[in-house]
Symmetry: none
Subunit: 195 residues, 4 copies
């Protein structure tokens, strides 16, 4: 999402200050009022320093969000052997994340940008979404191998069935995104997933 010029001489101080400023501001302001001008001012940085390294406000915000997911490990799902428990962890975690005020602003912002900027959409899918889905698919495959899930499971459908309901309620602002809902939705999905 960045690094076009020589990147060698790039000031780490400036980069960090910009992402930190973006992180602060996205929590203080409605996303529509978040301006590059404000990020630059808050970061104590010239506007050009932002435009040099990022093509758009959305790209800055995306990088700021990536910083939060920055565990160097990569995404893996727990595998306790109990597929139902592990998936419960997954759906509850999803709801927790969508609901955490410190993440929600970022996620809503990304959804907004993804609708309007295909480049950024592609980056989002590649860097965040598909790795997460791959990790889930991996856990599901283990479940299939263990005979806990149906043999002919289509992982894409399965993931959509597990997370689509939650994500769509959240996107549309429908109420009731609770752990109980997570459990009920999981049970429903399992009617298809189970052997």
């Amino acid at each position: 999402m960045a690094e076009t010029p020589s990147a060698a001489r790039r000031s780490e101080r400036a980069r960090a200050a910009i992402l930190a400023a973006a992180t602060e501001l996205i929590r203080e302001l409605p996303y529509a009022k978040l301006s590059i001008e404000a990020i630059a001012a808050r970061a104590g940085v010239g506007k050009q320093t932002i435009y040099r390294w990022w093509p758009s406000k959305g790209a800055v915000v995306f990088d700021a969000m990536l910083e939060l997911y920055s565990g160097p490990e990569g995404v893996v799902l727990p595998d306790t052997g109990d597929i139902r428990a592990d998936l419960r962890e997954l759906v509850r975690g999803a709801i927790a994340e969508l609901t955490d005020p410190s993440f929600e602003a970022f996620l809503r912002a990304m959804y907004v940008e993804i609708q309007q900027d295909p480049e950024l959409g592609a980056a989002y899918r590649e860097r965040l979404l598909l790795p997460q889905r791959a990790a889930i698919a991996e856990r599901l495959a283990a479940g299939v191998r263990a005979g806990q899930l149906r043999a002919d499971l289509d992982p894409d459908i399965a993931i959509d069935l597990l997370l689509g309901p939650i994500q769509s309620r959240w996107t549309l602002g429908l109420p009731g995104l609770t752990e109980d809902y997570a459990d009920a939705a999981l049970d429903a999905a399992l009617d298809h997933l189970a052997p």
Copy 2:
């Protein structure tokens, strides 16, 4: 989404021209470049006439979109007696709508606005989303009564299971939103819905 002042003296000519202009422009421009200024110019109307009756660009676009759904009948789902066929109709229709270039722009715009404007989100749910969901719930209830669906069906969960996968793929820009996908997702959902 409108009608704050006296509304009596309101010019129907202006109202229609504004919504028509919005409809045209939303198909011609990326949503972010759609300005109230441009709508007013295209409609041959003073900006103030827009600001007098709508609080924001999103509200105008929403009303323009409502105009397209304006069948006076209200939303009903077909009931052929064959619940699987009727639901196939539903999910395929959803994909068709999300994919129709003439609707897609409106819908993406609404998703953008809903993330940022709670008022508008509430209006969207009340005027469009919940009526649609009520209609689906109605058809599902008929299916239950006919013994084609499980007796203890929770309609909210059921609807989310049917449409959530499709809507979430669309929102995230994931590929593969085809009729085959619709059928597969429906089959998966039916594993829960069926008795």
Copy 3:
């Protein structure tokens, strides 16, 4: 400055309210911020009622000012027989008027309008300025007849000599517009006026 339409049916109540509102507002606001909209609102009158009877804001203000000079007698200068005393009265009166806060706003407004609206300038000269100058000329002629002023006096030059200095200082915002100044200017002018 008014009365184009039928004038018969004209509402005296509205006319008076408009002029009163203009008089109030011109004292409360900088002239540039005085709007027909505000006059109409203050007068409890539709804008159209103003536009029906006056061509411009300046015309309303002019009529409002005329109301204040409305002594039905017409302008006459005192004639005590002592020309110096009478002219002192004149120049001191001029300074008093230009300095009276309740007249100053009107007069500055008229000067502004006169620079920009020839119609209004003509009306101002005809209805106010020339009658005043004629009255002064009359008194001067009496002075000439009494042998107190030079026989070949040109009344136009004389009037300009008497009032021009005062008026030009006032217009330009130069300080020192006092009674002492008036007396000194009068003495200077009399060097020309006297026989």
Copy 4:
């Protein structure tokens, strides 16, 4: 009348284009229709560039007018030794200037602004009016020293007597602002000025 921000980085190109545009437009339009928007457009400049350096339309026009008086010398009156001839030059010059269509628009505009904007009035007096008056006072003092003018001459009164009549006729739109009038007014004033 300008120079609030850093002024170092100020674009001379933009400054000159703005003043030139103002000069053109003030001759093409009635002053009331002269908008900052139009100046910016004509100058090929963003509106903000005007607002950054000038507080009001009047300030721009004033600076544009100053540009015309820009002889670096400073104001001096001719001194031929013949005071009457030199003053004739002065009053005729005044009338010529007030009558020159290329100056008149500027001057009327300044009179309008001075009535309404005290800041601008102060600037006008300081930068233009008082220096001119000082130059005239200088010439008058020389006349006094040469015994051509009365010894106890008050220069302020004298200047008002010389120019007040002309200026007041012009401000009020009274006709007859000719060279003959200038000569007559000068003769009248000299009755006071001469020893």
